[in-house]
Amino acid sequence: MSNKMISKVEGQELILERVFDAPRELVFKAFSEAEHLKHWWGPRGWVLTVCNIDFRPGGIWHYCMKCIDEKQGDFYGYESWGKGVYQEIVEAEKIVYVDYFSDAEGNEAEEMPSSKNTITFVEYEGKTKLVNRAQYVSAEALKAVLDMGMEQGITETWDRLAEHLQSLQ
């Protein structure tokens, strides 16, 4: 119940929240070490084939996700490269990095949106609340989309989440 992901938009940020039944230090570690990331970072059916991580401010995290699930059709065998550049790290509390779509050489893909991500780890009733705030370069657009949703049926998803959130409280 409390472990459902919550997503919302506040100002220019896309926010995801989720509570994990694990100590904060461990959740932080899962985000900061290649050995851990390899076990979970890829979406279902995808594996991390490359995960080079230089975990310090200014350091670079370069990774490749590969689809190994034949059922995913066109994506099967597809490789998706990502690159993160760390800006700020506070042990067990906070990671700030800029997230880019990339290629095998680590070049940043300009045609895809980059985002500045701030992940915070908060102790919460003996569990850990993870909050991921993604700020896109041109994120004013996000707010516009949500504001405009009524006629296009866009905010539906988010409204349902808001309702769901309300019902949990």
Partner: protein
């Protein structure tokens, strides 16, 4: 999908353009009307409308001798799809993390 997500995002990132889009939600308008309501110069307004049009946000309709700008829904759908994808990728990722953390902790206890 035709329109790239960055084109869509960038088109709306400029405050005047965002204002134009918000204004057009209430109904189609001419360049002159848009310029007047937002206190913009007409050439400036035309330029913004061109960017919005290239990103697919607006289309022009000629009615008598007036050119009227109205909103199109396609780029909003592009953004919506993109948001949903973003959300579902993270949902799966955090599901994985949860399973993984459970595994780690049960190992630790033994």
């Amino acid at each position: 999908m035709g329109v790239k997500i960055t084109t869509t995002l960038n088109a709306l990132a400029e405050p005047n353009r965002l204002n134009i889009v918000e204004l057009l939600r209430d109904g189609p308008l001419t360049v002159g009307e848009i310029a007047e309501r937002l206190s913009l110069l007409q050439p400036q307004t035309s330029k913004h409308l061109r960017v919005l049009s290239e990103a697919g946000f607006v289309e022009v309709q000629a009615i008598a001798n007036r050119r009227i700008y109205k909103l199109r829904s396609e780029p909003f759908q592009v953004l919506d799809t993109w948001l949903k994808t973003y959300r579902s990728v993270w949902e799966e990722r955090l599901d994985n993390l949860e399973n993984y953390l459970q595994k780690l902790q049960s190992k630790g206890e033994k």
